[in-house]
């Protein structure tokens, strides 16, 4: 080993002498120490570190990691969106969770159920030991959840239910609602409450601390590559706003 570098740690930081108080004209210490000593804002004034800190390396341990566990039994049941048509899910139930769910059931079979909104759209026989499953040919833009149940002669019992997932939509959105916002470059985004989409149309023109909604009617023949668009959405928006202004 030829290197003499290592990371700085709280331990070796702690063994360093406390820097003496410096006159204001002196530069701040380098790098991340600045934040710890002089606060987060002082980082901007600090000199850029040229190299990582170097200390003699500790001895190397035995090579090679142990194999990863085949399962953690942490009752994970996670659903992912893979593409607009496909979900992937994995599960890792604790033996106790499985035993409890099977209790009292004769001839239990495992079923993976997929819900689109409130509606069950798939009911699949599968092997719990497989650990994961791809579900394809679903509908873009829809919200899904997965459920695993044991079905026995006496009825069924849930083993777990996944997180909800919304598949990405595919192709241009049918929703047309032209909203524009003006965000001055100097304005900070952090700490601003709420979403732009949450700004209700009826308050258009009201001072919103720099967040000004602008309306652009009929500005374009459509963008290149997608095709013409209807103006209906923006017209609806204008009508709604006008109705609000007129007190209707």
């Amino acid at each position: 080993m030829t290197s003499k570098e290592t990371v700085e740690t709280p331990v070796n930081r702690a063994t360093q002498p406390t820097p003496p108080a410096e006159p204001p004209s002196q530069p701040l210490p380098e790098g991340h120490l600045v934040a710890r000593i002089a606060g987060e804002e002082a980082v901007f004034e600090a000199p850029i570190p040229v190299a990582e800190e170097r200390l003699p390396p500790p001895p190397a341990p035995e090579p090679g990691p142990p194999p990863l566990p085949a399962a953690y039994h942490d009752d994970a049941f996670v659903l992912f969106a893979r593409d607009p048509f496909t979900l992937w899910t994995y599960w890792d139930f604790a033996p106790e969770t499985v035993r409890r769910a099977m209790e009292g059931l004769t001839n239990p079979r495992t079923r993976l159920r997929i819900y689109q909104g409130e509606h069950r759209v798939r009911d699949l026989d599968f092997a719990l030991e497989s650990g994961s499953y791809y579900v394809s040919d679903l509908s873009p833009g829809e919200r899904y959840e997965a459920e695993i149940v044991f079905v026995g002669d006496e009825g069924e019992r849930q083993v777990g239910r996944s997180n909800p997932v919304v598949l990405p939509n595919f192709g241009p959105s049918p929703w047309i609602d032209d909203r524009f916002a003006t965000i001055p470059w100097g304005m900070r985004l952090s700490g601003r409450p709420g979403d732009l989409e949450a700004v209700p149309g009826e308050h258009a023109g009201e001072d919103r601390g720099g967040w000004e909604r602008a309306r652009r009617g009929g500005a374009s023949e459509g963008w290149v590559g997608v095709g013409r668009r209807s103006e209906a959405g923006s017209l609806d928006l204008f009508r709604r706003e006008r109705a609000q202004q007129e007190g209707r």
Binding site: P58, L189, W223, V224
Partner: protein
């Protein structure tokens, strides 16, 4: 009125640092990229800036790349690598003395590598990050950040703390190395999901990039496709990739880099020449590898490759640059006619390593593109922040979950070849969030908690899943995933049982020495219940 062409180079390599081995093949990724890409691009941009050419381009320097470029061991190993290249260049001039077809190229390489070594030692003093920062300070370059370890964020969204850590660590790292806040981010693999923009807004990041369909498939429907940015609900702007300029450079069939006059990437004396001759320049165990000395041009779809002539190839790069700029001029003319008076933006992002590493003539092409672009009236070279400063009013819409990978979504990183990793990554993620609630009882525990955060971040790098999917160097990607998850699990257990092995921890801190400034508490929920 002028539109803006955003040339964006995404420079990223996974963190590869193996002090336990004197020579480690995967560390060559960094050495080759420094030699062939970063130094070549940087030096050309600097020449253009010195000539007073008014251009601005943007570039990602991912946190792992910045960390490696500032790692002392890797820099000293790169010194050695560069010395070997120069030594071999001298030998190549001698070897080809009686081979006219190759001697000219050998002399070219000698000049090229000696100049590269001069750039590294004398011009940039072995610190490319400082050189990039200086170019940013001069106003020619805008450096944007990336996910801390290039983790694919859409597959972490069930645990927002994991996403927040990837962004937060990256932003802090950027401040540390560039002395300012990042204004933009290259989301790893352009991976976006609705809601991610809120995490970016927390760090005051003003823009990010998405693939074309991130804009065209946004909700509500966007008016102008990828040629105007949109504001996401949090106010962070999304810029879409232009498919036309992308294809001209990226496409294997239609793209410029496939021109028959360009240098062939695969033919290399590391594989072609006598083993005894190249032995000092390949792996010490005798395994052949690329040396960077390539004497053939693409020629065509044939194994009978003809000699490469760098002068012909560089002239070709200039022609292609002219063609690229001409096409952009026509593109902007067309866009003016359909955008109803709004200022168009064309975003042309590329992997930085395409220029120089894969496409040797790429940096020459880039220089000529910039030189030509400043001479025409239809558009100017700028950055996304330039656009937003001049055009602060934009449509509000939300892109769908998307990426720039094959298929456009998560399919590259979630596939039969790599899906096994997610149960480990998410389990470790949950454990890390739980660990972050702790207040360390000792400085040693604090070190262990910070290292656990590093191990998790390193395991999350999208590069490992990508490599498993593409099928090259798979063993290494599997090993890295196993290693970091395994390290994390052991740290987790040792911390909870108050039995921390200090020697082993010290070794991990030394070997996986990324983000020395990390604070494990970044994994605490943003809004604790």
């Amino acid at each position: 009125m002028q539109g803006i062409l955003v040339l964006h180079l995404h420079a990223h390599l996974p963190f590869v640092h193996h002090p336990e081995h004197e020579h480690f093949l995967e560390e060559d990724w960094l050495y080759e990229a420094i030699t062939e890409t970063y130094l070549q691009i940087l030096s050309r941009l600097e020449v253009l800036a010195d000539e007073g050419i008014p251009f601005r381009i943007s570039m990602t320097l991912s946190p792992p790349l910045v960390q490696m470029l500032r790692n002392d061991l890797l820099r000293s190993r790169y010194d050695r690598h560069l010395d070997a290249l120069c030594e071999l260049a001298e030998r190549e001039v001698e070897r080809t003395r009686h081979e006219p077809a190759f001697h000219k190229t050998a002399r070219f390489y000698r000049e090229h590598f000696f100049h590269t070594r001069w750039l590294w030692h004398e011009r940039y003093r072995r610190d490319l990050v400082a050189a990039m920062a200086a170019l940013q300070d001069r106003g020619c370059l805008e450096v944007v950040t990336c996910g801390a370890t290039h983790g694919f964020l859409p597959l972490m969204q069930t645990r927002p703390e994991l996403v927040r850590a990837q962004i937060g660590v990256a932003a802090a790292h950027y401040r540390r190395h560039f002395g300012r806040d990042p204004v933009g981010i290259w989301l790893p693999e352009c991976g976006y999901y609705p809601g991610l923009d809120r995490v970016l807004a927390e760090k005051n990041i003003r823009y990010f990039f998405v693939d074309t369909h991130g804009i065209t498939d946004a909700t509500p429907r966007t008016r102008h496709g990828p040629y105007l940015p949109i504001y996401t609900p949090s106010g962070v702007a999304a810029f879409g990739r232009d498919p036309e300029s992308s294809e001209q450079v990226w496409s294997a069939e239609l793209g410029y880099p496939g021109d028959f006059d360009y240098r062939d990437f695969y033919r290399d004396i590391g594989y072609d020449l006598d083993w005894e001759y190249v032995r000092p320049y390949i792996q010490p165990d005798g395994q052949r590898k690329s040396t960077g000395f390539k004497y053939h041009r693409i020629t065509g779809k044939t194994d009978q490759k003809e000699p490469w002539d760098w002068e012909v190839a560089f002239r070709r790069a200039a022609e292609h640059a002219a063609n690229f700029v001409f096409n952009r001029e026509r593109q902007f003319e067309h866009l003016y006619s359909v955008l109803g008076g709004r200022t168009p933006v064309v975003v042309a992002p590329y992997d930085a390593e395409l220029f120089g590493h894969w496409w040797f003539e790429g940096p020459v092409f880039l220089e000529h593109v910039i030189r030509r672009a400043v001479q025409q009236p239809h558009f100017r070279l700028g950055t996304c922040s330039d656009y937003l400063q001049e055009n602060p009013t934009n449509q509000v819409a939300t892109p769908p979950m998307c990426s720039w990978g094959a298929g456009g979504y998560a399919g590259v990183w979630l596939d039969g070849a790599n899906d096994w990793i997610y149960r480990h990554l998410l389990h470790a993620g949950r454990r890390m969030i739980d660990l972050a609630r702790r207040e360390p009882a000792s400085p040693l525990e604090r070190r262990a908690l910070d290292q656990a955060a590093r191990e998790l971040l390193l395991a999350q790098s999208s590069d490992w899943a990508f490599i498993m999917k593409t099928g090259t160097m798979v063993d290494y990607a599997i090993r890295r995933t196993n290693e970091h998850v395994s390290n994390f699990l052991r740290l987790d257990e040792e911390i909870r049982n108050n039995r921390i092995d200090e020697n082993w921890l010290g070794w991990l801190e030394f070997r996986n020495a990324i983000f020395p400034e990390i604070d494990y508490r970044i994994y605490r929920p943003a809004h604790p219940e």
